[in-house]
Symmetry: none
Subunit: 230 residues, 2 copies
DNA sequence: CTATGTATGTCGCCA
DNA sequence: TGGCGACGTACATAG
């Protein structure tokens, strides 16, 4: 990995065009050819970048560029597309390279899996008289998060951390399919999420899908209380 | 901005828990307290990070940590939440700080907003005899990008840079809703994008939605020519 | 400030 | 390889 602090201007041309005026920034060049341009603020997203795999060519400025005080021109090209990043460097303040090796990576402790487990254990949150049939019920177009038996018949549950329209569409597709199965039909839908957006709620209710907002902390609390019994 | 190349292990605790084993990595500390942990591969996303505003506290290792060869412990805490990033440093290979100042920022060109403006001004690209009714026509499930009057009645346009299946789904929902309005009905659909994926085209045409591929550069050229008249 | 839609999204899974 | 869903999504903008 090469780290360069430079005064530079940058132009990106690819899926869109973007330009950055002359300023002092960090240029990070990774082993796989990726280039990241970071300023001293903002979140993890760089101001501009080139995704790997990519190759970088360093060239001298042309006459016009040299007059403008440009010392070096970096042209970064994506291998698989014609995306190009052009970095015009006026001054290099720092330049160092480092051998990092491959990273063992990140181990995550899941969230959605937890929510699904908790709702399975607390299936009565869907309403009185509900019983779990199974989690991850397979269908030809993907697994239904939770299938339950309710007072009025089978219930298919789509579970999200944040419920938006896409989730309602997903559940609608499952419902259409499940209702073709005479052993299951009629199957009604429940859209369960920690937060449901108004538009998603409107669409869901328009299609006869019930919305259930889940309180994760509360469910977690019940779970902890249950655990303490053993 | 401070740049540190260090052999370290990292633990994140917040909306989820995540852990990274001991390895050599780049630690970037920004002026606003943001911390980014990058390896020598991948795209612009760091392996782990803390979003600003945040504060970092450097402390000595406890006895147990010192035995494990840890020299320094960085505890990064988000200001607005209780998210925490804990970095255990075994060895520092490089450490430098740089004053960057505020960045003038990025100017983008060619996003959906630009396309929408250009298509509104060049509405005849939908076909002869089209007239703009309005942009961002509001509906209960969201705004329709462009509403126009065509030779056969009202036309609802969904605009994308890259036309994908979900865009067709979105337009379908709008059409269903708009066609319930007797003042507008019948409303036909046009799916307009710089690039339309084959599956999206198939789905759209199956639903009687017309597909229009837009040449942004060409539209931009016409726009520039128009501008020069004034 | 909240709500909502876009993104050069990126990333991982699975057929 | 391509489609699909999740993401500590981030981010800008409109209400």
């Amino acid at each position: 990995m090469r780290l360069v602090i430079a005064t530079c201007s940058v132009t990106y041309s690819g899926r869109l065009n973007a330009h950055m005026a002359l300023a002092k920034r960090l240029l990070m060049v990774k082993a796989d050819g990726a280039v990241l341009i970071h300023s001293d603020g903002g979140s993890y997203k760089p101001l501009n970048w080139m995704s790997p795999p990519a190759t970088m060519r360093v060239s001298a400025p042309d006459e016009h560029q040299a007059e403008a005080g440009i010392k070096e021109v970096w042209t970064v090209s994506a291998t698989k597309s014609d995306d190009t990043l052009k970095i015009l460097i006026s001054e290099i303040h720092h330049d160092s390279s480092h051998e990092l090796g491959t990273d063992p990576g990140l181990v995550k402790d899941g969230v959605e899996a937890d929510l699904q487990r908790l709702l399975s254990e607390q299936i009565e949150r869907l309403g009185d008289g509900h019983a779990l049939i199974r989690r991850e019920h397979p269908t030809p177009i993907g697994p239904v998060d939770i299938l339950a038996k309710g007072p009025q018949g089978t219930v298919a549950v789509e579970l999200k951390r944040r419920g938006d329209i896409d989730g309602v569409e997903q559940l609608s597709r499952y419902l259409e399919l499940l209702n073709r199965d005479p052993l299951l039909a009629p199957v009604s839908g429940v859209f369960a999420a920690q937060q449901i957006k108004p538009q998603a709620r409107t669409l869901a209710e328009d299609r006869g899908i019930r919305c259930v907002v889940l309180d994760y902390e509360e469910m977690k609390g019940v779970d902890d209380a249950d655990s303490r019994l053993f």
